[in-house]
Symmetry: none
Subunit: 88 residues, 5 copies
Amino acid sequence: MNELHLFSMVSTGVAGLVIALGTMLPAIAMGRAIASALEALARQPEAEKTITRTLFIGLAMIESLAIYCLVIALIVLFRNPLLEYFLK
Amino acid sequence: MNELHLFSMVSTGVAGLVIALGTMLPAIAMGRAIASALEALARQPEAEKTITRTLFIGLAMIESLAIYCLVIALIVLFRNPLLEYFLK
Amino acid sequence: MNELHLFSMVSTGVAGLVIALGTMLPAIAMGRAIASALEALARQPEAEKTITRTLFIGLAMIESLAIYCLVIALIVLFRNPLLEYFLK
Amino acid sequence: MNELHLFSMVSTGVAGLVIALGTMLPAIAMGRAIASALEALARQPEAEKTITRTLFIGLAMIESLAIYCLVIALIVLFRNPLLEYFLK
Amino acid sequence: MNELHLFSMVSTGVAGLVIALGTMLPAIAMGRAIASALEALARQPEAEKTITRTLFIGLAMIESLAIYCLVIALIVLFRNPLLEYFLK
């Protein structure tokens, strides 16, 4: 069952790579959004409610991109439907 | 059935690569849009309704691009129509 | 049927590459357009209707470019007309 | 029929590459044009009709470039005239 | 007929490469021209007729460059005059 072993290795590598690459740029984007929010708060402290609400919804949208990567990484690790062809 | 095994490995790698690459630049674009929205809110707090509505529709459009990538990644993992030629 | 197997692998890779590359720069372009729209809203809130209409038509035009890539990726996966030469 | 199989693979790869590369920079160009249009609207809201008309004609011109790439990609996939030399 | 097959593959690849590379920079150039035209309209709305006429003639000139690439790509695919030496 050498192929199964190779497939396990490849899957582990893919899952790691996906989550590593897939959270890189969302992190940068979140940092930029938060930085702008803080700068905006410094200029208009009385608009606090609007700014934080806009920021949190925006962060949730960026977070969703990273969650897609997490989902694919978890599928590859836990429930890869292609794995069954190695077990038959 | 060695080809089926190789195909499974390639599919896993392609799915991972698609979602990792496909969420990178949408994340950056979202971050930029949110940053501009917050800056706009700081300058014109009274235009809040228009700004957040424009932002959310724009974020949804960018999100749709990432969802295309997710769809292709899930098709490759779960329902690749080309897989049947390996099973016959 | 070794060629059919190789063709399936190549097709899967091409479909993944097309959608990953094909949504990258449209996402950046959308982010830039939305950022400009929000900046314009901050400067001329009373021109809201014109600005959002122009933005949404523009986003739809950029979206169409990504949809071309999605169409080609789906054709390659599901209905590649060149596949029939492998099945005869 | 080995050459026909190789030709099919090459054609699929070429079609994918053409549409992926061919929509990248038109997307960037559209984003830039829309950004300028919105900035112009913010500065001269009363020139709205001229600005949007100029923008939409310009976007259609850029779109036509991406459509040329789509046409070539579809010809390569569906109706490549060079394919007949492989079938004789 | 091995040379004919190789020639067909090379022709398909060349046609795809020509249209993909040949529309990239014209798209960027158009985006830049449109951006400048819109900026000019914002500064001198009363010179609208001159600005749009200059822009459209310029866009047509840039478009002609991309059309040259399309013509070559279509000639290579459909009516390559060098093909006859492979058929004799």
